[in-house]
């Protein structure tokens, strides 16, 4: 009885894997691997493009509610067909290219951006046994592909022949390079702990339980600090508020894609959101146990649902932050990256080492927390660069 139930749960969990196998198995042997890969690619493109569509609605509705507005509510039920209308609109808009622009590069930039964004999904395990390729150097692949985005951004900014787009591209590249360092360093703690660069084995390591509690890396001092640092760096990498300077709508209008219109503009949006999903998914994979359920008694829920639940949760946090915070300035952003993020990630590496070599127990927790919190406070003090940022008190004249 229970056995068959387990089997049923397992079947539901693996339904996409088995159906893919069944679809491919009829084909001749030499086409099997390639057609299975194509199937997976189509699935990834469709699912994440759909997620992009849903996220745009969620973001606009969420921001609207935070600002005491309704948000889009006209197209379809509760406005959920809004992305459809947006898509039709952007497809039917005239595609304007500046006369002085570098036509070829101008055209290639959004294509490269979306391509790079989609490539990153190859190593992300969205469920148990659900990963496109299980690379040994999966995490490295992820960051390598991520660095292509910088090139695309530069191409867009440079080829538009617009001062604002050039400024935006400069900002974007400086920001991406600066935050790639803490992003990679923050993820190295997990690689150290897992002893592998493969995303699949990193998730597998976290998918076990003590009692009902999972072994996610986020539930350790270094893991939590790493997660926080990773998320901050990811926010900057994906140009989200409060690090959305490359777009800086109120300063440099739209940054590097100011000269794009119609569907190319939509592609930039798509690429940006895909980048955000990808880094969020990486954070989930590294720190939040990937597709693993948060409690052992919840493992009957299919693994892919857990993955997407976590992803949507992170996206909602992104939206929440965007609805609240003003953006930083370029120099502040840079000093934050180099004076706070970099030392903290390096320190986190050290703390992870300490954690590894100390015997388990409460002492280990206290030592690691102290090692992280004290420097964090000190560093945040030094960030003010001698200026006294403080809530002020004012005098009044009668």
């Amino acid at each position: 009885m229970t056995l068959s139930m387990f089997q049923a749960i397992d079947q539901i969990d693996q339904i996409f894997v088995t159906s893919q196998h069944r679809l491919v198995s009829d084909l001749p042997a030499e086409f099997q691997s390639i057609s299975s890969a194509i199937l997976s690619v189509i699935a990834i493109v469709l699912v994440f493009a759909l997620l992009f569509a849903i996220t745009t609605v969620l973001e606009r509705k969420g921001l609207g509610r935070m600002q005491n507005r309704y948000g889009p509510n006209r197209v379809g039920p509760c406005g959920f067909f809004q992305p459809l209308a947006d898509g039709v609109k952007s497809l039917t808009k005239e595609d304007l290219v500046p006369r002085t622009a570098d036509q070829l590069v101008h055209f290639l930039a959004p294509v490269l951006l979306v391509m790079a964004a989609f490539l990153a999904y190859a190593v992300l395990p969205v469920g148990r046994n659900m990963v496109l390729v299980n690379l040994n150097a999966g995490v490295l692949y992820f960051f390598a592909v991520g660095s292509l985005v910088e090139l695309a951004v530069f191409m867009a900014g440079w080829s538009s022949r617009n001062k604002y787009s050039l400024l935006g591209a400069m900002r974007a590249i400086a920001q991406m390079i600066s935050y790639e360092v803490p992003l990679v360093l923050a993820s190295i703690v997990v690689i150290m702990a897992a002893g592998s660069l493969s995303t699949v084995s990193i998730v597998d390591m976290q998918a076990s339980y003590t009692g009902i509690w999972p072994h996610w890396f986020v539930f350790t001092p270094w893991g939590f600090a790493g997660f926080a640092l990773f998320m901050i760096a990811a926010t900057a990498e994906s140009n989200r508020s409060p690090f959305d300077l490359p777009e800086g709508e109120s300063e440099i209008i739209a940054g590097y894609y100011i000269e794009y219109s119609g569907f190319k503009f939509a592609l930039f949006f798509l690429g940006e959101y895909l980048g955000m999903f990808a880094t969020s998914a990486m954070a989930i994979t590294l720190f939040l146990g990937g597709w693993a359920a948060p409690f052992s008694f919840l493992t009957w829920i299919p693994s892919y649902l857990w993955f997407f639940a976590k992803l949507v949760l992170l996206i909602l946090i992104f939206i929440w932050i965007r609805g609240t915070l003003p953006r930083l300035r370029m120099d502040q952003l840079m000093s934050f990256a180099w004076q706070f993020m970099l030392p903290m990630t390096l320190l986190n590496l050290f703390v992870a080492g300490v954690w590894h070599f100390m015997p388990a127990g409460i002492v280990r927790w206290l030592v690691c927390i102290a090692l992280l919190v004290a420097p964090a406070i000190l560093l945040s003090r030094s960030l003010k660069q001698g200026k006294k940022f403080a809530v002020r008190h004012y005098r009044f004249a009668e």
Partner: protein, 385 residues
Amino acid sequence: MSTATEAIRIIPKSPGANDEGQWLEVSMGPQHPSTHGVFRMDVVLDGERIVKLKPVFGYLHRNHEKIAENESYLGSMPYTDRLDYFCSLTNNWAYALAVEKLAGIQVPERAEYIRIITAELTRFQNHACLIGFLTQDMGASGTPLMYAFREREKILDLFESLTGARMMCNYMRFGGCRVDLPAGWIEQARAAVASFPRFLDEFEQLLASNEILMARTQGVGVLSKEFAVNAGVSGPVLRASGVNYDVRKADKYGIYDRFAFKIPLGEHGDTYDRYMVRLLEMRESLKILELALRDIPAGPIVDPKTKIRGFRPKPGEAYAHIEAPKGDLGFYLISDGSSNPYRYRVRPPSLVNLTVLEELCIGHNVADVVVILGSIDIVMGEVDR
């Protein structure tokens, strides 16, 4: 074949400069989203640092003064709405005050109260929206702005039920106001005023102690006391630099001397002070509003001796100014005894305050320019006239 840099005008650095590299001239505006209207700044950048900044305006010039000189005295009243289109009622008041001074008209008690109530409501909504715009310029995706608009809506509803229009009120008349308060207006206004402190608390909660906001505004665009006075800056911008000058206190026009309120003063003269002074001024405005809504007497709302048609003041001249939300707004009129003024001149606070922009911006980043410009609080309708 050429590089991108060809499309960009490069200016060689001034001979005195030592370091290499070029300056980049960027034209911010007039279609830039955060120039608060059709305003252009010719910005010369060294990297992202401002080296020179030249404000260019006049895109919205409408010949306001010349039109007014060919218009009857009353006919200019609706045009004053369009000076600072955020605060039409204070513009009306300043103009009415000037004409009253010119023609020697007395204003009935009730009208004075109505003027103060509408002016302080105007100040409140102007400051609320300004703070919203300022944070919008800082990239806060409009959340504070939407809160400000939510509250402003209440004030605009009040204006609409009183004057018939939400923004272009055209309400003040020489010797009083156009219509009396409709039934239930005072209660509605009291309810609105009572709801504002909660909004201000939320606003402060949302932003005043936000580290990013402090980092973006503190020490940015410092306007020294001396320079502010020398440049003729007025309004909250001046008071943020620590100068205790408020026309409401200095001139006691209308019946402001009957109300107890304080003037918040800044110390550093930076953007954060300009932001906070406005926030505190809103609280003071609420005090005045509460008192005025409590004490407003019954009576006529307009001096019955003033003619609507064929209004011809005696030859002479008059200058009257008030503390508009943006600063010291003055009207100067010369009458030659005919039905239209011989000379009509506006002293726009936005324009005078704008003159310090370059001084405040030099040495800061591009991103700071929009914040500083936002904190000066200009409306192009008033700057260009």
